[in-house]
Amino acid sequence: MTDRETDPEPPLPFANEPLLELRREEVRESLLAAAGVLAERLPLRVPELISEERREGEDLVSSDPGEPALTVALAPIAGEAEVSRAIEAAAAYAPRWAAAPAPARAAALKAAAAHMRARREQLAALAVRECAKPWGEADADVAEAIDYLEYYARAALELTERTTLDVPGERNTMRWAARGVCAVIAPWNFPLAIPCGMLAAALATGNAAILKPAEQSPACGAAVVEALRAGGVPAAAIGLLHGEAEAGAALVSDPRVQTIAFTGSAEVGQAIIAAAAEVAEGQRDIKRVVSEMGGKNCIIVDSDADLDEAVPAIVRSAFAFAGQKCSAASRVLVHESIAGPAVERLAGAIATLQVGQAGSFATDVPPLIDAEAQQRVERYLRTGCAQGRLAAQSRGPLPAQGWFARPSLLTALPEDSALLHEEIFGPLLTVESVSGVQEALARVQRLPFALTGGLFCRNPRTVELVAARSPVGNLYVNRAITGAMVGRQPFGGNRLSGTGVKAGGPGYLLQFVDSHVLSENVTRHGLVV
């Protein structure tokens, strides 16, 4: 940032927002109370926000995935005109927000964090209802949103002028400046954390931003924008538009947008990167795309793995939130010497999974987000059953309504099976027996995705080998492979999984700024002055 003001009181070092201690009954009761209050307010009327303008509408409907007949939120869909006006407003205000002192912007983010912190239960209840995130996951989503605000607020303060190599008579400095308008296109699976993280990064570095939340989670997206505005981010610096693919495409292709921050499917991500590469008449910037896409995440289980720990961790990685995380486990590659007990114990553990409504604390596996997701998972399951062996499914009846899919384990699939290569984004897990870690690594390396990976192994040398050879962005050893924490596990994938920048890590903010190098001659008449 160009301003040299320093915060009079440097903030405390970053620490992750503590998760709610759900093992305590009084904490659970406070969440249920919040859910009760929310239920009374449904359906929520979620506005479109362009500067001070506020428009309501009923074109877009989000519903409870566990009770599809129940409307959670109603929102207006932004047409071309609204998209254009939102960008115009953001572009007009962007220079003023960029000129605000970095500490003032950071203070607004921290105030937004405080706003969310004061509404922990309400926000979690909203994610439970709109996205069917079970309580623990929903609370973690709120905590992560707060983490991003706190983390990027601090990181932006550190992004000050830096001296590069100096020689006598020459003064060289490097500075960073906001790029302008950032379009944020967010998914529904982390309906608070991911939009909040992308917005916070754009805003902390002085960009104006426009959020288009996923059409499945407009109310969660609106809650994030509301928190940022309540924290002191000017209305003109942050807009909120709703809609499906068209609204997103209009944002991406507008020449007045400089940066696009996207998290979602590989298909949409690649389309955005392609569209952003087009330079329109009169456009002055090459658009920069920060894109987090899918994964096909493998867990390698070596012969010395402790199955007592590996089995629950794998089950959690694959089936929590019904597998609807880009980091979720999809393939298990297990050493042939323990493949028998590993499959048997995984099968038995999957059979015990509690499939149910997200609002029940006893639920392990909630419904999928929508009918389309349910059909997709069923299709993969049918393919898998035809090609291989269905080794296990959860027991007990599925709830009568809701987009439920049965957690399933498949084995004996042919090497070219779609189930081993495509992202399913649902509660299906496959197991393959391999001759050893080398073969497992070879299979991982053949995949085009490289987001997360896991290894269960107790030999330090094998851990080193896999760490050196695995292409994944986030490798987890002897633990579950989901649940990356801001600052602790900067998160992002390689290969087709993303543009490789780690959210919640050092360097993320550099995607949202341009760098300028100033080289000044400080000699006059041969003297250094």
Binding site: R23, D304, L307, A362
Partner: protein
């Protein structure tokens, strides 16, 4: 009836008497080597970590060579290696060397395990259990097992428990009468005693949904209680980490409150003094016992708690205040307060004081006397392999002692073994201080 705080001088006197009675049982050359090894590793944190990781992985290794490869990997992370271990690493250079090294390590791990694990099966433990009985020591048998992650595994564990109850009953039927172990002023005490883990009885332990685990475990615990009643055996439900505390407490109180178990069997729970909220649980247990109308008193085993490191790390990772006292002295003080509370809750509660800390033991003896209890009205419990000298001393002084005896194979016992080794090598632990030859005044000082 409240039990007053005993005077430190009395505790010191009793403690000195016990200290004088502590005789190393058989300090043969093998045991001396064990203790040197434990001593050595407990002083170097890296070496200690390497040793624990090695013991942990040993049963999971495919071959001696594989085990040697792990040893070398772990030692590679230790900065200051004693000469013997550098030699071990050099042995790893050849295949023959690795095989020999792996075989030696496997034998070493088995040897260490045998110090803490009585036998592979309850039937196999019979000779040892009767031998202890002959020395005036009762037991509680704990069946080591793999973690339960499936319903089949829970069923299997429950079946093993049922078999164990029958086998223990038949084993102890052969034992001669030992009045001190079989009765106190509250009534008869079963000979056969089995400790049961709820984490073994259900794969559905969910910290945020205790009702799920209660319901699932109850279906397996009920037949066990019936079996125990039939065999005249005692069932003791262990406590584990804080995540399952509520499930365990609710399960035990729910089931024992059921009409069919009014007249038996004898049963018990555990109170962990390192928990900040243990006084509240104590009141809940006592209140329940007073109101239950059961024929037998509720046995409450008071322990410090074996999951301290886990609780602290788990809390740190989640940003929570740990549920345990930060300082060992706080746990020790709370242990004494809870001892007095449990002693005062007789006849509804039968307290069992489970600790290797001589000060805590001496405190309980004095507090019991002060409350007008007979020496036999308070039970002491120790861990087999860790508290051997203490149990011999207590038995010799005429107190009722019960040894907690793990039974099971090495693979299944690993989690237990690692916890015991951690305890044995912890710098603050009483046994370590005692081994260091600290003076009696220091060992017996008020916490």
């Amino acid at each position: 009836m409240a039990v007053s705080t005993p005077a430190d001088q009395q505790i010191l006197d009793v403690g000195r008497r016990l200290l004088g009675a502590l005789r190393p049982r058989t300090r043969g050359p093998v045991r001396a080597v064990d203790e040197r090894a434990i001593d050595l590793t407990s002083r170097d944190p890296e070496l200690r970590a390497a040793m624990l990781r090695l013991v942990d992985v040993a049963p999971g290794c495919r071959s001696p060579e594989d085990l040697a490869a792990h040893l070398i990997g772990f030692l590679g992370q230790v900065e200051h290696r004693p000469a013997a271990l550098s030699l071990a690493m050099r042995m790893g250079d050849t295949r023959a060397g690795r095989t020999a090294l792996g075989a030696a390590v496997a034998a070493g791990v088995r040897h260490v395990a045998h110090r803490f694990i009585v036998a592979q099966t309850p039937a196999g433990a019979e000779r040892m259990l009767l031998e202890l009985w002959g020395q005036g020591i009762a037991t509680s048998v704990d069946l080591l097992g793999e973690a339960t992650v499936t319903a089949d595994e829970a069923d299997r564990y429950a079946r093993r428990c049922e078999e164990a109850l029958r086998e223990l009953a038949s084993c102890y039927a052969k034992a001669p009468a030992s009045p001190a172990l079989e009765r106190d002023s509250l009534g008869p005490i079963p000979r056969a005693n089995l400790s049961v883990k709820v984490s073994g009885l259900t794969p559905l332990l969910r910290p945020q949904a205790p009702e799920l685990g209660v319901q699932d475990a109850a279906a397996r615990l009920r037949p066990l209680l019936r079996q125990a009643r039939e065999n005249g055996a005692h069932v003791h439900v262990d406590m584990e980490s804080y995540d399952s505390r509520e499930t365990v407490a609710r399960l035990v109180l729910d089931l024992l409150g059921e009409e069919e178990f009014r007249d038996g069997p004898s049963a018990g729970v555990v109170l962990q003094a390192y928990l900040l909220d243990s006084p509240a649980l104590a009141e809940r247990l006592i209140g329940w016992a007073e109101a239950s109308g059961r024929a037998q008193p509720l046995v409450v085993r008071l322990v410090k708690g074996a999951y301290w490191d886990h609780e602290v790390v788990d809390a740190a990772q989640h940003g929570w205040t740990p549920p345990v006292f930060a300082e060992k002295a706080q746990s020790d003080r709370n242990f004494e307060a809870l001892t007095r509370r449990l002693l005062s809750a007789r006849p509804h509660v039968r307290p069992a004081i489970a600790t290797h800390n001589l000060r805590s033991v001496a405190h309980a003896i004095v507090a019991n006397e002060a409350a007008g209890g007979d020496p036999g009205d308070v039970e002491f419990q120790v861990l087999y392999g860790l508290g051997d000298e203490l149990m011999a001393a207590l038995a010799g002084e005429g107190y009722r002692v019960r040894a907690y005896c793990p039974v099971g194979d090495l693979v299944a016992g690993m989690a237990y073994l690692v916890r015991r080794l951690l305890e044995n090598t912890a710098n603050e632990g009483f046994l370590r201080l005692q081994a260091d030859g600290r003076p009696a005044e220091e060992l017996l000082a008020a916490p």
